[in-house]
């Protein structure tokens, strides 16, 4: 079974803290994604990566950065957490086109609250 694991299910942080959200996948997928989910807005893409050390901005990258030092791990970093970053964060991975079923596999989500 494909498994995408996010390091925390719930997280509470203070305004101004540096926050790390970790995501690990065990299917050797090249593609990894970070989404933010808010009611009525669906999932919005923050950053994505098609390979190690590669990253691309998504639709809402402001206030976030990412790191992909190893193929299986994709980290989302909030440099200085703010209350408007309180949200659900979802990590996903997928194989590149032609190397498996085109499908996104998701972690269980991290509900982050910034106080």
């Amino acid at each position: 079974d494909v498994k995408v694991t996010q390091s925390s299910r719930y997280l509470v942080k203070r305004t101004g803290e540096k926050v790390f959200l970790e995501c690990v996948q065990d299917m050797d997928h090249e593609n990894m994604f970070w989404y933010r989910q808010d009611p009525g807005l669906g999932l919005r893409l923050i950053y994505f990566s098609y390979d190690v050390k590669m990253k691309e901005k998504g639709d809402i990258p402001e206030g976030y950065s990412v790191s992909r030092e190893k193929k299986e791990r994709f980290s989302l970093i909030l440099e200085s957490a703010s209350t408007n970053q309180t949200s659900m964060y979802l990590c996903a991975s997928s194989p590149p086109r032609g190397k498996g079923p085109t499908e996104a596999f998701f972690g269980q989500g991290t509900r982050l609250t910034v106080v």
Partner: protein, 113 residues
């Protein structure tokens, strides 16, 4: 930018009845996939059904089927014989080139016993 519209924020259906969730999208890509994902209260996103845009035949997966109208850029999901376990948020997600995934705002489906 890709846009996805799910015009029904909430829907309800009686157990054993049929319900259709609508989705329209905007893409300039000629090669893409389309997905419906389900998110139950556990928050785990689950793939419901997948459609390749180049295939004219509508995809089916047990009680789930789609009505794909490529020219109209419409991709609706039909759930037959609805079950209590079908209650969830449903997201429509086009995938341009099969590499990225763009999600709609979601439809919350309630199943009434």
């Amino acid at each position: 930018a890709q846009t996805v519209t799910q015009s029904q924020p909430e829907m309800s259906v009686q157990e054993a009845e049929t319900v259709t969730l609508s989705c329209t999208y905007d893409t300039s890509e000629s090669d893409y996939y389309l997905f419906w994902y389900k998110q139950p209260p556990s928050r785990q996103m689950i793939l419901v059904i997948r459609q390749e845009a180049y295939k004219q035949q509508n995809a089916t997966e047990n009680r789930f089927s789609v009505n794909f109208q490529k020219a109209a850029k419409s991709f609706s999901l039909k759930i037959s014989d609805s079950q209590l376990g079908d209650a969830a948020m449903y997201f429509c997600a086009p995938s341009p080139g099969g590499q990225n995934f763009v999600f709609g705002p979601g439809t919350r489906l309630s199943v009434l016993p």
